[in-house]
């Protein structure tokens, strides 16, 4: 079936796709914009937190890994495709539906630092971005305003940011214990920026600390793009077609001419479009572009996740237990910027995370059964503080997304990851874990343990359609325009040339808004 020509066809209703759709429809109300998304809207009334057996959802149909969701055999509201991750040290995590991975995210909302945009010039590693922090700053501010940020202005780890519209998410006993440790050592700490309502805001409830943010937020306190950008984009006239899997960007004579997708009833639809914008994430985007025959030497390469490891401290005092929001208490950027004496370039982010629910904590143990496991849980439960150490993963061409030679049930070629943790990452994480343990002991932990490599931490899927000026080493320019194909734009996390050491959501949204403005100007 061939449909009528539209101006813009967006693939994927996740963070990038949603922010782009809203901003372009606001700037150019005259354009006919559609978005095609493989999943549907989340149903908050069916989210696990409302059920007594909510804990097990994160091991089954609400697992953070699409592979585990598929393997559970339970019907998931996420429209997943399998990913061959057998050759990847980190396992990819995502959500496929309106809102994309923001449905499952923790909504920790840090920005990159100014230095993150200039790693090649400053430190001789990675690559410079085609724009600077200052260029992106107005879009960070706009994205903050649209997503709703709780936090505290005045953080000395960043250039000044506007006053946050809500006070920080409650620190809890856990946050205060960790703050004590950082203070004892004279290290930086600050309450995190969170895209979570600490008070009712913008028609959404305030967080009631229920805990399981990763299985969706029943109250809507956690910002996800189905609640923020999409209602406004739809009101602006953007048309969102759900349960439709895009099979191909149709390219003729070096120009994108539209998309071919399989609709909810299995029909093959051709949607001609003047411009195609892809926001399928760091795996979905290269998968689709490779399947569409886009030829670009860097496409699919330089996959970055952020190295991740945990240190956990056990305390005699009673702490909060498994309450939420899971990723949001305090963080430290004492070791974020390069210090050559450490033996590696760039730095680490230390994030104090809250305790997991009991069941998840039990299943995460090396040996989760028998008396010692139960004893360990007894000691740990309501008495532990976890510190997530993230480092700046650097771009390496051999870490990549490629196509398999079979076709999946969704009609697209299968997708494979190859990713090996670098020596750089190992060294940075070791350093970060040492510092995390030091802090935990200073805070009063009587025992610390480290999880030096946590495979199920592939939350951040970045770099596989990177921006840059040179078509030999990058896929798109600083406005997301694909070098190799005219009228084809990328607007998601795959654009990152480097990733800093912090979560990417805030930057993905800001970049997508900038790309929308760049296009609006171009079309004027």
């Amino acid at each position: 079936m061939r449909l009528e020509l539209v101006d813009i066809a967006i693939v994927g209703a996740g963070f990038g796709g949603a922010a782009f759709a809203w901003r372009l429809s606001q700037q150019r109300p005259d354009l006919r914009i559609i978005c095609v998304e493989r999943g549907g809207f989340p149903d908050r009334s069916a989210m696990p937190a409302l059920r007594p057996d909510w804990q097990r959802a994160v091991l089954n149909e609400w697992a953070t890994s699409p592979n585990l969701r598929l393997k559970s055999g339970k019907k998931s509201p996420s429209a997943d495709y399998p990913i061959d991750d057998t050759r990847s040290d980190f396992k990819p995590l995502m959500w496929n539906g309106v809102g994309g991975s923001t449905i499952a995210w923790a909504a920790h909302f840090p920005r990159l630092h100014p230095s993150d945009f200039r790693t090649r010039s400053l430190d001789g590693v990675g690559d410079d971005w085609p724009f600077t922090y200052t260029d992106l700053e107005p879009y960070y501010d706009l994205n903050d305003a649209e997503c709703g940020v709780s936090g505290l202005a005045g953080d000395p780890a960043y250039p000044p940011k506007p006053e946050r519209v809500m006070p920080p998410v409650a620190l809890g006993r856990l946050g205060m214990a960790a703050a004590r440790g950082f203070d004892a050592l004279g290290w930086h700490w600050w309450p995190v920026d969170a895209a979570i309502n600490s008070r009712p805001h913008a028609g959404r409830a305030g967080c009631n600390h229920c805990g399981p943010c990763l299985t969706g937020c029943v109250t809507g306190a956690k910002s996800s793009t189905d609640l923020t950008y999409w209602p406004k984009a739809l009101a602006n006239g953007v048309e969102l077609r759900t349960h439709c899997v895009v099979q191909q960007v149709v390219i003729e004579a070096g120009h994108a001419r539209g998309i071919r997708y399989r609709d909810a009833s299995g029909h093959d639809v051709f949607q001609p479009a003047r411009i195609v914008v892809v926001g399928g994430n760091g795996i979905g985007t290269p998968r689709l572009l490779l399947a569409s025959g886009v030829e670009s030497p860097a496409l699919g390469k330089n996959l970055m996740f952020h190295g991740a490891a945990y240190a956990r401290g056990l305390f005699a005092e009673e702490l909060d237990g498994p309450v939420g929001p899971v990723g949001c208490a305090i963080y430290s950027h004492e070791f974020y910027e390069t210090d050559e004496r450490r033996g590696f370039k760039r730095g680490v982010h230390l994030q104090v995370a809250r305790e997991n629910a009991l069941l998840l904590q039990a299943t995460r143990l090396d040996i989760p059964w028998g008396g010692p496991a139960q004893q360990w849980l007894r000691e740990e439960f309501r008495h532990s503080v976890a510190v997530l150490v993230c480092n700046e993963d650097l771009p390496e061409a051999h870490n990549r997304v490629t196509l398999a030679d079979h076709v999946e049930a969704d009609g697209l070629p299968g997708v494979k990851l190859e990713y090996r943790i670098s020596e750089h990452t190992r060294r940075s994480l070791e350093f970060g874990l040492d510092r995390a343990e030091e802090m935990l002991r200073a805070a009063g932990a009587h025992r610390t343990v480290r999880i030096p490599l946590a495979p199920l931490t592939g939350w951040h899927l970045l770099g596989t359609a990177r921006m840059g000026d040179d078509p030999r080493t990058s896929v798109a320019d600083g406005s997301g325009r694909v070098h190799a194909v005219a009228d084809l734009i990328v607007a998601d996390g795959s654009l990152f040339p480097t990733v800093g050491a912090v979560n990417p959501g805030s930057t993905i949204g800001a970049v997508a808004l900038k790309i929308a403005d760049d296009l609006a100007r171009c079309l004027a």
Binding site: L50, W189, T219, E337, L358, L359, Q374, R382
Partner: protein, 144 residues
């Protein structure tokens, strides 16, 4: 395979805490918490049969000490890791959601919503120390 054998496997995986433990309310064993085991597929069936075989029969497994039962399971785990862990995971899901277990751990049973939880805001002392962090001045690296 008999229910009594399954019960012994459950209680080896989840032995609980005995009354002599220092916990105010000791954790029940798996079977005391109402957790039951039934193979969900042929592979799990085969692993459970292997446990009985390695112990010298279902009865012998049941009568063995907890240490000996644990040793049998540890060996089978090595041989059939994935299936054994799938059995464990299934049992843990029932156990750690059982109201009696949550109560023993001092946690509330039932759904996480709509009640949620209360957690304290930063106290005065913490906020005061935060001012000291601010006062130390900028630590970000300028780059243009």
């Amino acid at each position: 395979m008999t229910n009594l054998f399954f019960e012994a496997v459950v209680d080896t995986i989840l032995p609980g805490e005995d009354e002599a433990s220092c916990a105010a309310s000791p954790l029940p064993s798996g079977s005391q918490a109402g957790v039951t085991l039934e193979p969900r597929n042929a592979e799990e069936d085969a692993v459970l049969r292997l446990i009985a075989e390695r112990a010298g029969g279902e009865e012998a497994f049941r009568r063995a000490s907890l240490a000996a039962q644990t040793a049998v399971l540890a060996n089978v785990e090595k041989e059939r890791f994935e299936i054994f862990r799938a059995i464990v995971s299934n049992l843990l899901q029932h156990y750690y959601e059982a109201p009696i277990v949550l109560a023993a751990m001092g946690w509330r049973e039932g759904a996480a919503q709509p009640l949620g939880h209360k957690i304290p805001e930063a106290d005065e002392a913490t906020l005061k120390r935060l001012e000291a962090v601010r006062a130390r001045g900028a630590i970000w690296r300028p780059a243009s």
